[in-house]
Assembly symmetry: C2
Homo-oligomer: 205 residues x 2
Amino acid sequence: MPKRGYHHGNLRQALVEAALDLIREKGPTGFTLSEAAKQAGVTPAAVYRHFAGREDLIAETARQGYEIFADVMQFAYDKGQPSALAAFEATGRAYLAFARKHPGHYIAMFESGVSVNRTPELAAVAQRARSVLERAAADLSEHIPPEKRPPPSMFSAHIWALSHGVVELFARNSPGAQSPFPPEDLLESGIGVYLRGLGLIKPDS
Amino acid sequence: MPKRGYHHGNLRQALVEAALDLIREKGPTGFTLSEAAKQAGVTPAAVYRHFAGREDLIAETARQGYEIFADVMQFAYDKGQPSALAAFEATGRAYLAFARKHPGHYIAMFESGVSVNRTPELAAVAQRARSVLERAAADLSEHIPPEKRPPPSMFSAHIWALSHGVVELFARNSPGAQSPFPPEDLLESGIGVYLRGLGLIKPDS
DNA sequence: TGTACATCAGTGAACGCGCGTTCACTGATGTAC
DNA sequence: TGTACATCAGTGAACGCGCGTTCACTGATGTAC
């Protein structure tokens, strides 16, 4: 029950949500502090009670995004257990699902130009997200004969890159325009071929 | 020998190059028409003799980028011939090489928000670039038994996405900060695993 | 070879705009007594 | 329960700035005769 009036009640979070809307609709470039304030029903100057400035507001939306993202990845990982393979595939799928479900957060995180090393908190939560995928990769690499086992961080990077590329090129309207295939199928099949290449699933079918 | 003076000589191209510099150094957001004009040694108003406006200038830099990109891809494809495999791998590598060598163009093409469908010329040259990779994929798919052959456009999309993801996440300073591996190695090994998954190179080593 | 003239690339001043940010303030809220 | 007061979230006016864009202009260039 946010009591509106002279005092807003929860302006900080309202500004984050306004920022998310604007970033989603107009891109990180189109986002302005003034408009976010306006959308939250408040004077631009009021923003400075809660944030150091424009960049700081974007960084906070990114931070919240990484928080959700890390949770989502962790949830996918847990759900795939005890199968290392299922857990790994689920985290890949979770990446795309996150981008779809939280486009504002996604853009703030990956397309706004905010550095992940801007603050210690931001760096920490980004690391948390990354480490889920790395753990999934490490679990999976146990199933590869040691002598031909690539470093887990390498194939987590491959999957991260593939997922990111699919999102950027085919799941957002931006550059390549229309996708030849549904992004979900593209990612699923790409990961499938890749895991087959590692000898982790049967070459057959 | 550009004769300087009241008349610039080749302002149009000088503006494109100024734009490339600025985009590379400050990102697409940081690019301003006024600064590009200044860097070319000219009044902002002069820009309008050659371009419809700011967006039009960015679009032209992107167009020139796609032109180079398509040439580079074509060259890599030709160089890999007559081996379908070599040609395919070379185009993948060319993607990353292009991003490294022409960062300004790359950003204008993929990160500036300019739609590839903005003008017919832009759409055409982007299609030309894409079709090189698709042809390489189609050649390669000839070597897969027809009954388990995925559509060529699907695996060209996979490689495109992987390449793009590697560039965005690991070859540019932006979000993930430092890469665990050199991007070239990451892409090379990723493509290797992928092609093994398609049964196109020996599972052994 | 010299002159008159058309062309048009660049000038420079001006514009309106919305931005991010600052500042002294005000008035709602909550607490101490 | 009522009053005095401290707190501090939000106001509103103002700022300087650089932006993209326009406009009437000017002067260098090249061509016709």
